[in-house]
């Protein structure tokens, strides 16, 4: 079977369309981030408390809110899971003492004689929140740097590493945009997903770059844009099949993997899609423009 036969699409010639499309996505991301006042950081980074409670019978959302505010817990973020009779109560706070809120919440339900079971408690003190934020930022930056250095060494020029990383930042940023539009929280798991996405996206790009490098030595006389086009077309079938198999797995994880890895799967599901797109439509045009710019200057 063959999904894609021999193709001869002029990706480089149509680069302004794809680049404009990407700029549009980036602008949408920026607007969404401005409207939402930055990314929606979870308690892992802001500090705060999360309590997941399973009830015998899940009270209505409004009822829960009333019960909690009567007991002195004001404006908690509530997320109910009717399928498993559970609710997640989350409070973002920088207070050191917020650990005691768990006990307070339990007391409220005990007093009301509601049958319940605490399934999960997460308390992140402000110091840990800050520590985790710093670590997250540092590891993202270092992994980008590591990739640039490795690719630069392998390809003996920084053009490839930097172009690959630009495409990768593009993917991670736009994925954050989607999370922001959907108002999903950036949790530790989402950061893990974004780092994995970085790895996947660069992997995808490198395969095309490798083919370009090979064709550059095989077909010295051809113009650059033609070589780039040939290379992308030659690897197109592989690019699409690989992302298809990965997306298959991610789709199932997203649909059936449960609430804990839901956002993780969502970030990767969308991210790999964008990653595949950028490998084909963004990474090589950047290389093209870069080399063109450099030869013009000479």
């Amino acid at each position: 079977m063959k999904l894609i036969g021999k193709t001869n699409i002029d990706f480089i010639g149509k680069r302004y369309i794809s680049i404009s499309f990407s700029i549009l996505l980036i602008l949408i991301t920026i607007v969404s981030l401005i409207i939402h006042k930055g990314p929606n950081l979870g308690i892992d980074f802001t500090g705060g408390i999360l309590v997941q409670i399973k009830f015998k019978q899940l009270p209505k959302l409004l009822e829960l809110r009333n019960i909690l505010s009567e007991g002195g817990i004001n404006n908690p973020e509530l997320k109910t899971f009717p399928g498993i009779n559970s609710v997640i109560i989350q409070i973002k706070t920088k207070q050191e003492e917020s650990e005691q809120i768990t006990t307070k919440i339990k007391d409220i339900f005990l007093k009301k004689n509601i049958e319940f079971n605490v399934e999960r408690v997460e308390f992140v003190g402000p110091k840990i929140g800050k520590y985790l934020s710093n670590r997250a930022i540092l590891s993202i930056l270092l992994s980008f740097l590591g990739i640039i250095i490795y690719v630069a060494l392998r390809f003996k020029s920084s053009i490839w590493g930097v172009s690959g990383v630009i495409a990768l930042i593009h993917d991670v940023f736009i994925t954050m945009g989607l999370l922001s539009i959907l108002n999903r929280e950036i949790t530790l798991n989402v950061i893990a997903a974004l780092l994995t996405l970085a790895g996947y996206s660069i992997n995808d790009t490198i395969v095309i770059f490798d083919r370009i490098r090979e064709n550059l030595t095989l077909q010295r006389k051809e113009p650059l844009d033609k070589i780039l086009n040939i290379s992308i077309n030659q690897t197109l079938s592989r690019t699409i099949i690989t992302s298809l198999t990965v997306e298959l797995v991610l789709l199932v994880l997203f649909l059936l993997g449960g609430e804990v890895i839901h956002d993780f799967a969502l970030s990767l599901l969308f991210g790999c899609f964008i990653g595949t797109y950028s490998s084909i439509f963004i990474a090589s045009p950047i290389v093209y423009e870069w080399i063109l710019f450099r030869t013009k200057r000479k």
Binding site: Q52, S143, Y150, G199, L248, V252, L255, A265
Partner: protein
């Protein structure tokens, strides 16, 4: 008899497979055991426990805590590192006495301690057990007429116990060298000397006893020789006075000293339930922390949620992989089947490595297995697409096969290594669950280099040699 290269390759694959199955076997056995057998094995600390795949707290249930040592309360001559080591040792003592299997207690950074207790049913008790300073002090009560006037003032001002202890007017009435401490349940105040007569540092034992006042449980204490001497002097010099027994700045009781106590034995009464008395005896035995600790991070997961996660994680991962396997067969026919053999082998070796190196499997880790196997297919896709190209150029199948593999090799290495770089930083960054993900991702990628390249090529070569195929069908 000499072996051909192909036979050696085949042997390598069979040995790796056999070893992998050997390492996975204990895990399979473990999950076939009944709950009772498992509980028994845990109690006996059976060797099988060191051979099964270790599940993370998010799957097994349990509590993860990060504690911070309050270094402002350490006496100036003590070194921070020493104090931290001592805290870790004491917490380990307490946890051991509490009977937790496989606890993890390690320092992190300058003054943090990570405590992980798997399978804890009651996180509140565990938190109390770990977080209590358990500083036991015996302090003489101050003059009772002073306390009466303080209580009078409190009544006038209409304060509660906590407010009173922070009220400047009240504090002005406290004579120098004395402090106001609350009693249990915040119901009354005690005026006691600031400096203790003796502390828990001299304890050799603490036990729960039944049949104190009104038949309530109490805790009996034994001081060491030196402590007994001090205790004898203190009690001898203060007959008919009250000696308050203070635990972490809360007065447990303040009995009257009837006579000199020469043998270093004391008791703590205080309306305890049996549970409370046992708890108190446990932390006193383990010793007091050199400085208070504060919980700055807590993540606890109940066992039912963990089971739910295992179920959902496993089912979705297996289903995802099945879809990939079916897709590969439809798309690449016989070559797809060969790629799938490599994929299943990758899965088996991955599980074996988890068991062998005692890595922890977490929920993101399970997702990571599915994801890496989805990604591992890429190596075969790269090879097969190359193979197609070569065949289209008119090469014979055998030549096209060799060319396909060698041309795809650099690409596979380059693309996998860049993914590995991201995985390594993920590992560095990760807390428990994410580390589990980084582990399966890294292992999966590394193993795929073996299975997708070496194993599949060997299978092809074997098939060519045995004339099972003449043409590579794609």
């Amino acid at each position: 008899m000499y072996m051909t290269r192909l036979q050696i390759k085949g042997l390598v694959i069979i040995v790796v497979l056999a070893l992998s199955l050997y390492f996975i076997y204990p895990t399979i056995k473990w999950y076939l055991m009944s709950d009772i057998e498992r509980a028994n094995a845990e109690k006996m600390r059976d060797k099988i426990l060191n051979k099964i795949i270790n599940l993370g707290l998010d799957l097994k249930g349990g509590i993860h805590l990060v504690l911070e040592l309050d270094d402002s309360k350490i006496s100036s001559e003590t070194d921070l590192t020493d104090a931290l080591d001592r805290v870790i040792e004491i917490i380990r003592n307490r946890v051991d006495q509490f009977g937790v299997t496989e606890p993890i207690i390690v320092r992190q950074g300058e003054k943090w301690i990570v405590v992980e207790l798997p399978g804890i049913k009651n996180p509140e008790t565990a938190k109390n057990l770990i977080g209590k300073t358990a500083l036991l002090e015996f302090k003489l009560l101050g003059p009772s007429e002073k306390l009466s006037s303080i209580n009078e003032k409190i009544r006038q001002l209409g304060l509660n116990i906590t407010e009173a202890r922070n009220n400047p007017e009240i504090l002005a009435l406290v004579p120098t060298g004395y402090v106001l401490l609350p009693g249990k349940n915040e119901e009354s105040l005690y005026l006691v000397k600031s400096s203790p007569e003796i502390t828990g540092a001299y304890l050799v034992n603490a036990r729960t006893r039944l049949g104190g006042q009104f038949g309530l449980p109490y805790v009996s204490l034994d001081f060491n020789k030196e402590g007994a001497k001090i205790f004898a002097t203190v009690t001898g010099a203060n007959i008919d006075k009250n000696l308050a027994i203070v635990l972490d700045d809360v007065v447990q009781s303040a009995p009257v000293i009837r006579s000199r106590i020469p043998d270093g034995k004391a008791i703590i009464e205080g309306n305890f339930t049996e549970e409370e008395a046992k708890f108190l005896a446990t932390i006193l035995r383990a010793g007091s922390l050199p400085a208070p600790v504060k919980i700055i991070e807590e993540r606890s997961i109940g066992p039912t949620l963990g089971e739910d996660s295992i179920q959902k994680g496993t089912i979705s991962s297996i289903l995802g992989l099945l879809l990939v396997i079916i897709f590969m067969i439809i798309y690449y026919n016989i070559s797809g089947v060969i790629a799938n053999i490599a994929l299943i082998l990758n899965f088996i070796i991955l599980l074996a490595s988890l068991a062998l190196f005692r890595f922890t499997l977490t929920l993101p880790g399970i997702a990571g297995i599915a994801l890496t196997l989805g990604m591992a297919i890429d190596a075969n896709v790269l090879i097969l697409e190359r193979l197609r190209d070569e065949l289209e150029l008119g090469k014979t199948p055998r030549v096209a096969l060799d060319l396909g593999y060698s041309r795809a090799l650099t690409t596979i290495i380059d693309s996998n290594l860049t993914t590995l770089i991201a995985a390594v930083f993920l590992f560095q960054f990760g807390t428990g669950p994410i580390k589990g993900f980084a582990v399966t991702l890294t292992l999966g990628i590394l193993i795929s280099m073996f299975t997708a390249i070496f194993v599949t090529k060997t299978i092809y070569e074997f098939m060519f040699q045995e004339n099972l195929i003449r043409k590579v069908k794609l």
